[in-house]
Symmetry: C2
Subunit: 314 residues, 2 copies
Amino acid sequence: MIVYFTFDPRPDLKEGLIQDFPTIDFIFHDNMDHTVLKEAEVIVTYGEDIEAEQIRLAKKLKWIMVASAGIEKMPQKEIAERGIVVSNVRGIHKVPMAESVLAHILSYKRGLAWIYEQEQKAEWNRKSKATELHGSTALILGPGAIGSEIGRLLQAFGVHTIGCNRSGNTADYMDDMISFSALLKELPSADIVISVLPSTPDTQHLLNSEHFKAMKGSALFMNFGRGDLVSTDVLINALNAGEIAHAVLDVYEEEPLPADHPFWQMSTVTVSPHVSSHSSRYLERSLEIFKPNLTKWLEGDTDLINKMDITRGY
Amino acid sequence: MIVYFTFDPRPDLKEGLIQDFPTIDFIFHDNMDHTVLKEAEVIVTYGEDIEAEQIRLAKKLKWIMVASAGIEKMPQKEIAERGIVVSNVRGIHKVPMAESVLAHILSYKRGLAWIYEQEQKAEWNRKSKATELHGSTALILGPGAIGSEIGRLLQAFGVHTIGCNRSGNTADYMDDMISFSALLKELPSADIVISVLPSTPDTQHLLNSEHFKAMKGSALFMNFGRGDLVSTDVLINALNAGEIAHAVLDVYEEEPLPADHPFWQMSTVTVSPHVSSHSSRYLERSLEIFKPNLTKWLEGDTDLINKMDITRGY
């Protein structure tokens, strides 16, 4: 049985796989080879190299393990028709994303960008405008696995956490919970507004200009979910009108962000190039999900961890 | 009774004092006026404007409230001879210092300085070298009030904490404790080495080149205590030899750090200009200690919170 990685993991990770599964032929490439594709029963991929053509060629393919969260770009119809099992690595973004969100919040509160600027100028200037995170209030849009981990860490810093989802049903590490419909009323109490919402019909342009008018003038807004939560114009206007103090963005309506986009030049915006989930331990964590799944697979059990419903896209 | 502030607090903080203590004559200046000095029973100061001459002039002075931690520069002999009570704001640095330390650690692990650089170049580059804090080991030199608060927060991020003090006696939020004498043996296990030690005969040049050789090549070293913990040359040599990966420094052997100091230009050093305890809430917190003390004082009780032993310097 051939398990085909269409990327090339670190040597120690490859050796671990080969040792743990001596009966399997692992093939590791850093791109897609069609000769191997035709023989593979399992493909491990980042998901961007699989189109309808690849599915047609891969006659023996029965399971695609996608080492990312989304499968938006994959040929869902062709995969479903063939009955190919798809699984992903949902959940492994929790730790790096929450650490990135806390890094940006603390950097903003403790003036790290300003410290780095003084350093570049070799200037000993102690007039830092540092504030404290302790005692502030954070509103978290999307308190799922990632949002709750952010809530847990914020609570450790003495932050009051308010979760906000569609239903208003309770979530972990939230001091209060509200539904989307109560959002406008609650925004004036928040010092930090963080979204980790996915893109769904309910969340697209969920925030409009009224929401930003309702926020504190000192508020920090962070979008680490999907770029279509708020239109770029609404956000730029809110920042330029001083309705909020600063935005830290990891996602955008258009990615890559064009070189002439206003965000790059705005001192009230921190541009993070969609890297908040990146981690040197990403693949290690992906394999921690893949290995027990491969054991199941060898036993004929196709009820895999993180098995996806390909027709629904999640 | 005159209470003389030799600095000028925010209007809301002044009004709060005047309302809470209607029988007291508060005088607020942004410098030291000798006419007022002669009449004041209590002086509230940052401590740098009081020399032997001021003590001689202040005939009615009975209590100096120092809104900082150290009194190294004050005329200790003259104060002690007059039996003047001195109190300080010990303890109010805990929250901002711990937040600064966590901000720098997370910024380093999640690559924020790199993100800010890409932003300056308006360059969408996703090749971030971000790593995770989770699962690492931190060795904390000086697990007192500040060090333990750092330990508490690190534990929330899934970090194993090792405290190190002179005695090796237990401290809060430390998974393990060691004494100074066991330091060299323990250093190879630490991913992060953080000092918040004060300057005492035991801590001056506590770290020498052997200690840096014992650290991991990937280690992050942070000095947020006092600059004389390690000689500048030892630290520069260790960084240039790759014995550790990076240093974040808030304190230095010489402050201000001279404009031509090598640290400014070293990519392996983050220079913070001794601002880690700064906070917009600093004075608010100082007054939270001063007000109950002033109530005690009015009742004739001189057993103040944070009363200092002026002859010992702490």
